[in-house]
Symmetry: C2
Subunit: 368 residues, 2 copies
């Protein structure tokens, strides 16, 4: 019997996966990692109030979640000083990026991102037949001027720009981002991924302007709020752009337990402050460990520290594998020259104590 008739686009897509999860690595190595420091999760956990809210919502799990995400959307609007009509809640930034790309990108359309930036964005662009144009990082940071110039050159419909950046941890000031917004070519949408925004120094995030018709700010409960497993993110934009998500989103896609958790987490300012403080202290400690090894920790406005291993991808991979063998899960950037580094998410005292023991052992890798 013949098989299905896939679309030409689907038939041509690679079956690759943006990331292999730590669980798959654990299954391959036959035992769990002792320190899960590779996925930029918040190991400090969610707010205890969010945990309580989830336990309460669990028994109500027989009900579909509110497809309008009304309560969470209104709380976010209050929090951000915008109208509820400027906020769309989705299945994490990953889900929202997929919807945004689907709304804008038809086969052959040009899209601009940085070479080595978020692979899941690229996955969506490729998945909808878009043509990716990339701009190299400059001094380990995304290059706003080059992104804008490239978008103008290729007539891009969409630019992806993360501030702060993953995987390098670097950031630009609000003034720089505002200049980028002001220089945005006509007809081009700027997707400003601020997943790590809560960790950034003040003066990093420009004010939200919901009158601009082509700027989408994306934020998440997966990082500082410690709810990566619950799949709740949101986008903030001009009302017409927000409304367009209703044409393609999975209306019942956000789970009810996640809705409850996100709402409770948003209202627990003390826990957020605690996580941000712990994250900052952990970054400092990780940076100190790297320096003690003669390695260079890059400045970070996120919940991870990217460490320059001082040579190339081979050395970085050696460091990653040595740490992995010692039970410490970390990741590394995908492309040169960023892939001379490893990326270590912040941890609690126990994870960092282990890192402090194991990191010096990679000296043999470094000195090879």
């Amino acid at each position: 019997m013949t098989g299905p008739r896939y679309t030409e686009l689907a038939a041509g897509l690679p079956a690759t996966v943006p990331f292999v999860g730590p669980e798959a690595q654990e299954r391959a190595r036959g035992r769990a990692f002792s320190a899960r420091l590779g996925a930029n999760e918040s190991i400090f956990g969610p707010s205890p109030r969010a945990v309580e809210a989830m336990a309460r919502a669990a028994a109500d799990g027989w009900m579909y979640g509110d497809p309008e995400n009304h309560d969470l959307r209104h709380a976010l609007a209050d929090h951000l000083g915008v109208a509820p009509g400027n906020v769309v809640v989705g299945e994490g930034i990953d889900g929202l990026l997929g919807y945004l790309v689907r709304l804008l990108v038809a086969p052959g359309d040009a899209v601009v991102t940085s070479l080595g930036a978020y692979p899941t964005f690229n996955y969506h662009v490729t998945g909808f037949g878009g043509v990716l144009h990339t701009v190299p990082y400059r001094d380990d940071a995304e290059d706003p001027e080059a992104l804008i110039a490239k978008a103008a050159e290729v007539d891009a419909k969409l630019i992806y720009f993360a501030n702060p950046d993953n995987p390098m941890g670097s950031w630009h000031t609000a003034a720089t981002v505002q200049r980028m917004i002001d220089a945005l070519p006509d007809g081009c949408v700027l997707c400003l991924d601020e997943a790590y925004g809560e960790f950034a120094p003040s003066g990093t995030l420009p004010p939200i302007d919901v009158m601009h018709p082509r700027v989408v700010r994306m934020r998440t409960f997966s990082k500082a709020y410690g709810l990566a497993g619950l799949r709740v993110g949101y986008a903030v934009a001009e009302e017409a752009l927000v409304r367009s998500f209703d044409k393609v989103r999975n209306h019942f896609g956000v789970n009810r337990v996640g809705q409850a958790a996100a709402l409770a987490a948003l209202l627990d300012h003390d826990w957020l402050a605690h996580v941000v403080a712990e994250t900052s202290a952990a970054r400092t400690r990780i940076a100190g460990m790297a320096e003690a090894m003669g390695l260079t920790p890059l400045p970070s406005a996120t919940n991870f520290v990217t460490i320059d291993c001082g040579a190339d991808v081979e050395r970085a991979r050696g460091c990653l594998e040595s740490l992995g063998a010692a039970g410490i899960f970390v990741r590394m950037p995908f492309v040169a020259p960023q892939n001379r580094c490893i990326r270590v998410s912040v941890g609690r005292k126990q994870e960092l104590d282990l890192l402090e023991v194991e990191l010096p052992k990679i000296a043999t890798t470094i000195n090879n």
Copy 2:
């Protein structure tokens, strides 16, 4: 400033929503419903073991879920007697339908469904530019032979067929469905939505044949397992077709709490049997109430009873609105002639006691 440049397809999509949720109706009426009997949810709730699993998973919510859904997929494979490679887990059947349509349907491609069948499927088809061809219900059931004939006529790439059916509650025997599979036109995929399969009499679901390259069985934890709010469904198919989902799915889209809940629910056979028994008893009681009113309850293999209100859409809407005003949330089919009915999901004793009080009051509507 000019707006975004949407794709031609997106620009042409309506901003309609497949369903307005009960929460939106509650906000509009200014108070909660007393009985939530409109969304075919399992008001008997999830397995207590699933509730415990969710509470445990909540504190681990800082971790992304396993993107391979490994443990759940393997448990499902054991449960179904297939290989793990024949199972893909997704964000409810809604999410999986979206992926399947995206894999198969390009603008202009023909798709066949029944007139008045699941609107979310139609939403996805329209969303990807497919052309829907519909076949009328026959005796309040989907019409397998007519669906196959229509698919051959229009050279459809995909047929949607739900067994048991929503919104009518009707069903076909496994033998009939098997004849449909055997008659499937070359190059056409049959999406067999078995969301209500656990409620159906034995002999309703044909054996799973994972060697057939063009039959996808979709099932869910939203109905009998009482986890609608957790967003976990799965599709079972030939391995190559299952693998194709990896090209387009949101790999980290299934939430971790839902993964844990679904696994616990799947293993609690006693709770499932309890829910199925309670559902059956509630169906009988609802049917009796309808008959006592002189209305005709349709036979049901699901967790709802569709009641023929004896006239047309106006009378059915009157009944729905009267019940709504009395605090009882129900729904009704969208198109004629099915929309002469209302659809009442099963409830516990307290909801059915209320229904027993309020249902006779719609007599004035019926006798108008």
